[in-house]
């Protein structure tokens, strides 16, 4: 019995060894395993003992390197991981079903974005229409992304209600709140509502287990990969648009109205669903890109921030505070936070501190200083000219980032001195995650009331 056990163990080990070769797929391993077992059985019958039988059978099958090379010659495309998600893990039928669901939802999102036009709301310069789309754009697209995950994760009645609630509430509020047309608070709501609702999508992504820190980190990873897929699809879309213009121009047809009212809006809506599906389907097949880009850009952004700090000190001029600059600073700091999050999400928590961790500490500290400079400028402005929705929103965001970056800096330093394990840093980021949607919701919903809907 014990000998048989060790035979099974040997076979499992041999399979794992084969599975490591990218040119040999899982089904091939199964086929080869059947061969191996037949061979072993035949050898056992001619009175070899189990160990001998196993060794002879493996030897006859050929060494794995030449086997792998032979398979690679036959299936060269396997070394280029295929872009259509039919990996070894996915049963073909569920993969097809998933792709149908994804494409269906993408078409749904593309259609939803056009529905307001049935009621006379157009894409264009009309301020009323622009204000409508600014408030509703996320409500027209994100429910489809959330639905994709709700279906995939098999949501029950309770979780479905919980998922639907923020969307319904936002839809009601965005129509009940008497915004001044295209006023500050309406524009702030247009920017912050998608952020808040993205976390509702996150609730769907993690299958309702939002308290789980591992799941939260998965959602962070998903968000990064999603942005990358979206950017790739946008590149392709740009090429498609260019050729559309070129081809129809050659026969004297103006495609611009079609492109601005159909191709781009429907394309963007559909792409958001499709990239969610792709990230999900490809997560095991393609190397994650976000950590790679993070490694590449962490040093570059550190240099940018440090040189800005130096230039600011040398020139002695204060930061200009207007809306675009404030948004720019916030975006920059969010990006730094993103760099931090993705390198954390991709790091092996067991590994000891290395050079990259020191670099990251430098990045965090310089971001902290830049954040401090921005906060100082905003505070000066507020004390001089009083509160305005934009300034208060920027103040809040900078404070939120200041707290995160500050504590991250402390934790990174302690990690570098080996006082705390790396997991503490990771834990801090995932614990802090709910602050963002809460603040975004406050800006989107409470600011109009606080600032008289201006």
């Amino acid at each position: 019995m014990e000998a048989r056990q060790s035979m099974e163990e040997r076979i499992v080990e041999w399979r794992q060894h084969l599975d490591r070769h990218p040119s040999i797929h899982h089904v091939d391993t199964e086929e080869l395993e059947d061969h191996l077992r037949s061979q072993i059985d035949a050898l056992l019958e001619v009175d070899l003992d189990e160990e001998e039988a196993f060794l002879v059978a493996v030897k006859r099958l050929g060494d794995t390197h030449s086997l792998s090379r032979e398979f690679a010659r036959e299936y060269s495309e396997r070394l280029w991981k295929q872009l259509l998600p039919s990996g070894p893990d996915a049963e073909p039928s569920t993969a097809t079903k998933d792709s149908f669901i994804a494409v269906g939802l993408a078409v749904g999102a593309a259609a939803a974005i056009k529905i307001p036009q049935l009621f006379g709301v157009e894409f264009g310069d009309d301020p009323g229409d622009a204000s409508f789309y600014a408030r509703h754009i996320s409500l027209l697209i994100l429910p489809f992304v959330a639905a994709l995950f709700a279906i995939k994760r098999g949501f029950d009645q309770r979780t479905t209600y919980l998922l639907t609630a923020p969307f319904v509430a936002s839809a009601v509020l965005m129509n009940v709140i008497p915004f001044y047309q295209l006023g500050s608070t309406e524009l702030l709501a247009a920017i912050h509502l998608p952020i808040a609702l993205w976390f509702a999508v996150g609730y769907a992504y993690v299958g309702g287990r939002w308290r789980n820190h591992v799941q939260r980190m998965n959602f962070v990873r998903f968000t990064g990969e999603w942005v990358i897929y979206l950017a790739l699809i946008a590149l392709g879309g740009g090429v498609l648009t260019g050729f559309t213009v070129l081809l129809f121009e050659s026969i004297g047809l103006d495609t611009e109205p079609f492109i601005t009212t159909w191709l781009i809006p429907c394309g963007v809506a559909g792409a958001m669903v499709i990239s969610s599906w792709l990230v999900e389907a490809k997560q095991s097949i393609i190397e994650n890109m976000a950590p790679v880009l993070t490694r590449l850009f962490t040093p570059l952004f550190t240099v940018l921030l440090l040189s800005f700090i130096v230039a600011n000190i040398v020139s002695g001029s204060a930061i200009l505070v207007d809306r675009d600059v404030l948004i720019g600073f916030d975006l920059l700091l969010v990006l730094i936070l993103g760099l931090l999050l993705y390198s954390i999400s991709a790091r092996d928590p067991e590994a000891p501190p290395n050079l990259f961790d020191k670099l990251q500490f430098l990045l965090v500290v310089s971001a902290l200083i830049v954040d401090g400079l921005a906060l100082w400028a905003i505070a000066m402005r507020i004390s001089e000219f009083g509160f305005s929705p934009n300034k208060v929103a920027a103040l809040g965001e900078n404070l939120i980032l200041l707290v995160n970056l500050g504590w991250s800096a402390v934790l990174s330093a302690r990690f570098l001195f080996k006082r705390v394990p790396f997991a503490t840093l990771e834990r801090w980021q995932t614990a802090y995650l709910p602050v963002y949607p809460i603040w975004a919701a406050v800006v989107a919903v409470l600011f109009p009331v606080l600032f008289n809907f201006r």
Binding site: L32, D34, H35, R37, L61, G62, L67, E74
Partner: protein
């Protein structure tokens, strides 16, 4: 006797097709049959058969399907298609030409192998 690599490679396809012409079969049985047919003179690393089978499947000469072995294990079987039968005929004609040519020339000479022994 060692049969050269190129000859092994060239004869592999017609051999496998001919064995499958006898009826559907699976990898291990095909190898065993090759052993019987050649008296163990033609040696392959067993694993190399599978990429070959997959290529033949891809070219449409054989089809594969999963079944069960006598002991209930998952096993992949292969069966010759019509196209495979045509391919086998083609191989057969080509090999006959080569075979006939070699026979003719060797019959007209003194058998080198006989002479050697």
């Amino acid at each position: 006797m060692d049969i050269g690599k190129d000859l092994v490679a060239a004869s592999a396809t017609p051999l496998v097709l001919a064995i499958l012409a006898e009826g559907e079969s699976y990898g291990y049985a095909i190898i065993k049959r090759v052993g019987e047919l050649t008296g163990g003179e033609l040696q392959w690393a067993d694993g190399m058969l599978y990429p070959l089978l997959h290529r033949l499947e891809r070219n449409g000469f054989i089809t594969a399907f999963w079944g069960k072995s006598e002991t209930g294990r998952k096993r992949k079987y292969y069966r010759l298609t019509e196209q495979g039968r045509d391919e086998l005929t083609r191989h057969r004609q080509q090999w006959s030409v080569v075979d006939a040519a070699l026979r003719d020339i060797w019959d007209s000479q003194i058998h080198p192998m006989v002479q050697g022994t």
